[in-house]
Symmetry: none
Subunit: 123 residues, 10 copies
Amino acid sequence: MNDNNKYGAEAVEAARLESWPNPSPERDYTIEISFPEFTCLCPRSGYPDFATIRINYIPDEKIVELKALKLYLNAFRERAISHEESANLIFSELNELLKPRSLEVIGDFNVRGNVKTVITVKL
Amino acid sequence: MNDNNKYGAEAVEAARLESWPNPSPERDYTIEISFPEFTCLCPRSGYPDFATIRINYIPDEKIVELKALKLYLNAFRERAISHEESANLIFSELNELLKPRSLEVIGDFNVRGNVKTVITVKL
Amino acid sequence: MNDNNKYGAEAVEAARLESWPNPSPERDYTIEISFPEFTCLCPRSGYPDFATIRINYIPDEKIVELKALKLYLNAFRERAISHEESANLIFSELNELLKPRSLEVIGDFNVRGNVKTVITVKL
Amino acid sequence: MNDNNKYGAEAVEAARLESWPNPSPERDYTIEISFPEFTCLCPRSGYPDFATIRINYIPDEKIVELKALKLYLNAFRERAISHEESANLIFSELNELLKPRSLEVIGDFNVRGNVKTVITVKL
Amino acid sequence: MNDNNKYGAEAVEAARLESWPNPSPERDYTIEISFPEFTCLCPRSGYPDFATIRINYIPDEKIVELKALKLYLNAFRERAISHEESANLIFSELNELLKPRSLEVIGDFNVRGNVKTVITVKL
Amino acid sequence: MNDNNKYGAEAVEAARLESWPNPSPERDYTIEISFPEFTCLCPRSGYPDFATIRINYIPDEKIVELKALKLYLNAFRERAISHEESANLIFSELNELLKPRSLEVIGDFNVRGNVKTVITVKL
Amino acid sequence: MNDNNKYGAEAVEAARLESWPNPSPERDYTIEISFPEFTCLCPRSGYPDFATIRINYIPDEKIVELKALKLYLNAFRERAISHEESANLIFSELNELLKPRSLEVIGDFNVRGNVKTVITVKL
Amino acid sequence: MNDNNKYGAEAVEAARLESWPNPSPERDYTIEISFPEFTCLCPRSGYPDFATIRINYIPDEKIVELKALKLYLNAFRERAISHEESANLIFSELNELLKPRSLEVIGDFNVRGNVKTVITVKL
Amino acid sequence: MNDNNKYGAEAVEAARLESWPNPSPERDYTIEISFPEFTCLCPRSGYPDFATIRINYIPDEKIVELKALKLYLNAFRERAISHEESANLIFSELNELLKPRSLEVIGDFNVRGNVKTVITVKL
Amino acid sequence: MNDNNKYGAEAVEAARLESWPNPSPERDYTIEISFPEFTCLCPRSGYPDFATIRINYIPDEKIVELKALKLYLNAFRERAISHEESANLIFSELNELLKPRSLEVIGDFNVRGNVKTVITVKL
């Protein structure tokens, strides 16, 4: 495995989100995505954190490409970032890319130090 | 098995949806259909995708014929099509054929690359 | 999508099972694999069949490579083959490739014509 | 976060397992440990893998120290290693360190490419 | 519906069980079949009875063909036959046709006159 | 309702158990019967008692006729009889009539005076 | 057991409902009673019927005495009466005796001839 | 055990309810108490009755002291009192002591003579 | 209620266990009794204790009379006795009275002081 | 609260286990005790640990007194002690005090640092 191959062969270039044209922009419909294997690092202790990320949206002109989304979420693996910041960052970058009609991002984090945290960001 | 016999003897001609007259157009009533064995191909990777397709509608003058619907859904087996597009396409073709009083199509796709996706299109 | 890309870019060459050396042949240990998205075609009617394939084994010198296994199982998608034959074929080919210390293959097929069938082949 | 702080302040030195003296070597008793947040990298694709690791043993002269065990398991986060090898490696290193009266290590891996795998290594 | 069309177009000729050659007679393996929609008539009262029929066997030279089995079980619909006799008859005819290495037939009948009955016939 | 019509038109004559010839005496098979609406009278207080009666047996030359069995069990309705005696009596009369290869009778009585009782008689 | 002792020593005289003064007529409160062992005889076939009787009421000046209620309900044991009539009769007699502020009687009958019936009478 | 020690050393003097000042009378909040080990004596038969007592209230100036409440409820152990009266008595005494903003007392009595009774008194 | 009427009219004389002749001493059969409303007093604190008593036995010449058993168990209500002693006492007295072929008594006590205790005495 | 009053007025003197004479040493019987509110301190981090302690034994001459056991287990609250040591210590002290015919102590500890541990010590 070489360095470019980290978290999937296309990981380096794909850690950016990609969009596809919405096949049916003439109507409102909802897309619900759930990613149960999100992990990042706690900025204070350096320990790994684990979460399920849920993304629910009504697309406008664009939809998110799912493989790029997976690689984008995988790329948090080595990032030191708080629960609150990661949920808000995913929300901001999806919102800017897709300009959806509505958007909700939920970060449902595993218990850490006997504390369970769920972050919900909604448009 | 000859070529015409693919996915059922009548598959070639029947991959088009058919309608029957609604036996009780004088009242509103709901029809809920669930098809747990939907499969198509991912347009990016070529891998097979699997889903349960749910169709809920209030008919107006027409109802959908169930065997033709099964063969129509079976015919996605060799089609390269995204999650969003297949749910919207089934919705559009049912809507055009039946012109129902209400219609909802849900594509509940199996996890792919650790991502679970549900598409809901509603009239 | 070109022809070589069917059921994954490497599908053509990979529809053959591959083995890796067992990292710990000095001891007995068990590997349990479950594949819930198996589909093939009924040799009598041409309709699609769906199953979960379960593989449990104790390796000897070799273990099965999981991505090649997935592509191998994906490749039944266009094959007309009975329930009994597919379970026995998977058993035979794994047995020949791996020469494992023990092997069990279970084909747990979805209801077809109101009949539910489970095939269990064991070494 | 500096380099030494990866996966917890003591991670660098602690990625080695540590033992404590068994407080009651005069009798047989069992210790069952479960760690649901194991993650490593697939040696073929570079993608992250996730698992629950279960360790059951009867200690002899030594018991495993739980915080060092956690840091040891956290340290697989950047390692490219197969399912079979990681379960056997954890088994071998615990066995060598503790020389326990009995030992079982189970790697219960999340679905990857629609394939679910469980590895069980037992003394 | 004409007479030949009773319970499916091929019902008349197919009400006899059919066998296929066992694809793997060189090994023991088990086939478990469940048919939840069995119905016959009570020989005393003439009322309909309902049951789930379960068939578990290890084939020798032959396996039962599933569509013919379905039509065979469908053909009890107009037969006046007791619980005990139907389970034994299915057992006897399967046993004679297949000469399997082992065979079990279970007739799990619905409550009738506040009495629930389960018949188990085993080779 | 005339006197003969008590607990079903044929009740008077049918309160005796009847047997039919076993359709398959050449083999061992089991018959499991459950009757959830048994009621009799407490010999001490005169209050009604309620139970589920379960009968499991392997027939020899005879099987019990189910409608006669139901009428026989219905006929305990006016009988003052203890829990232990009713279970043993049903056992004895079935045993004498059928001379089965094995027999088990369970009387699972409803709570009475805050006491719940289950009687199991087995050959 | 003598004749007077039927369904409890006091059964003959007690088959009439009795009331007690409501200990708290100054306020509205609800009393919910459930009797799962009701049995009577079908007026058409003579067969026994079984039901749970539920009684919910807000008392005014009187409450029902529970032992007399039990004996009253026990006394249906030999009565040939339809489902609808028994529920309405219990309602009428309770209503006349108690003149409650509200009253609901539910007869939840066991399946008979594969038909399940629930009768609800409400003030 | 001397006489004063009945149902706890402080039982004699404590069989009276006690109140404490509500620490937060400036807001509405609810207190739910459940006591599953209530027992008293049936005034008609002398037999013991068993119940779960549930108390739900919004306090005003006072809250009930829990140990005194337990001893108060324990003290019904030797009292002959009907289901309806005990629920209303507990309600009245709590209401008079606490003058709460709302109050509900539920006496959920065990089956007695095959009759189950639930009393609900609400302010 | 007079003094003799404590815990049932016949309580004083009936607090002794009674036996009936076994109606079927010629065979082994099992009797399972469960009494969920046992209560006695803690010999140390004087507080009430609650338990479910379970009695399972194979009778020899005698069976226990159920109403006397209930009154016998009711009579522990005012007795100060430990968990261990009550279970053993019930066992001893049943054993002496019935001289059964086998006997098991289980005292399953409610949580007391955060401690849950189950006592099992077996012949 | 003065020092003597820690975790209950009798805690200081009672933190020693006490025994009572076994009321029935003439027979083998089992006592199962469960204490879900055990807490101690981690000897490495100083953080609180929580566990359910289960004790199952067959007494010989002595039984453990339950209130003293509770106070003894409460007294671990301020003790820094490992999972393995606390389970073994409870086992040793019970074993020495009671010299029981058999003894099992299980410490079922809550997740700590994402690690779940269960210790089982058995005679």
